[in-house]
């Protein structure tokens, strides 16, 4: 009863839009999930590469950004930000990453953690 009163507010064109966006979301999800696990961890401070290590290594790194120390941990083939001085802690709540191309970013502290596959892409070299 209540649901059907909501349903009549959605026109046929709207339903097509919903279906289209849903399919686009599912298709792009399928494309991004299928990527292989990466090989290397690359950490940027601003534009500069400050650290590179294989993903298989077990270690933690301390980075010095403009706001203070950001701690990054590599363990069991995954990377995460364990602590950060930024106000909203978005980088910490982004969780663990391990696939090639994945990204952790702490925008306020200018730290970007990126996973790379076996070959380096040219646009990264040119930076």
């Amino acid at each position: 009863m209540a649901l059907s009163s909501l349903w009549v507010r959605i026109t046929r064109t709207d339903r097509w839009i919903i279906a289209f966006i849903f399919l686009a979301a599912v298709a792009s999800l399928w494309l991004t999930i299928g990527r292989p696990a990466g090989q290397n961890v690359v950490i940027f401070e601003g534009d500069k590469i400050v650290f590179t290590a294989p993903l298989s290594q077990q270690r933690s790194i301390v980075l010095h950004g403009p706001l203070g120390e950001t701690q990054v941990e590599i363990s069991a083939g995954k990377v995460r930000v364990t602590s950060s001085p930024c106000p909203r802690k978005i980088c910490v709540s982004m969780g663990e990453i391990h696939r090639s191309g994945d990204l952790l970013a702490c925008v306020p502290n200018l730290v970007v953690v990126r996973i790379e596959g076996e070959e380096r892409s040219y646009d990264l070299l040119s930076r």
Binding site: T11, T13, I21, A25, L31, L103, A105, R114
Partner: protein, 193 residues
């Protein structure tokens, strides 16, 4: 006679100005309220202020929607205190993207699109604008586009919620004589099925 028609027109104009001011004030309120909410997931916003943009679009047309969204973002960011910071850039280009896609949807699909469809287009435009400016300026890495599928799903859900809310609001306001004089605007189709 002519003067009374003239009067009628200026009355409508004045009414529109007053209600636009009211809508902008409400949108700024919602914008600020949403910035104060704790968000469990990074960057996830429902975009409640877009309800007012949809209402303006429905009553007064495309120009009113652009005016409302842009002034809402400027005043809202001023209140929150991040005017011209990275957060402001994100919401400004998000808002511009949302208005752009809603305008395109309203103009191209005017015959059948409802407020829910417009709202979804707005939400999708919002994330596209944000991801574009984030990948170009804020994060400067193309890999941020990997977030697109998750954002698209969120945009779909929040777009439907906002669209339904706007539809209820427009229906409710139309009962009032101040709005029943409005010409039939965009996105009101469900009445005839």
């Amino acid at each position: 006679m002519i003067s009374s028609v003239d009067k009628q027109e200026t009355l409508e104009q004045t009414r529109q100005r007053v209600f636009m001011a009211l809508f902008i004030a409400l949108a700024v309120g919602l914008h600020t309220f949403e910035a104060l909410l704790p968000n469990p997931l990074p960057w996830f916003r429902i975009g409640l202020a877009n309800i007012l943009a949809l209402t303006a679009l429905s009553f007064y047309g495309l120009r009113a929607m652009w005016v409302l969204s842009l002034s809402r973002i400027f005043i809202g960011s001023l209140l929150i205190g991040n005017l011209f910071g990275p957060g402001f850039l994100l919401s400004f280009f998000g808002g511009a993207g949302a208005c752009l896609l809603m305008s395109v949807g309203a103009l191209l699909l005017n015959r059948g699109i409802g407020l829910v469809g417009l709202s979804i287009l707005g939400a999708v435009g919002h994330i596209c604008g944000q991801l574009l400016i984030a990948s170009l300026v804020v994060v400067q890495h193309q890999s941020i586009w990997l977030l697109l599928p998750v954002f698209l799903l969120f945009a779909l859900i929040s777009g439907i919620i906002n669209g339904l809310a706007a539809d209820f609001l427009v229906d409710y306001l139309l009962q009032h004589p101040a709005f029943s004089a409005c010409r039939k605007g965009f996105g009101r189709h469900h009445v005839e099925g």
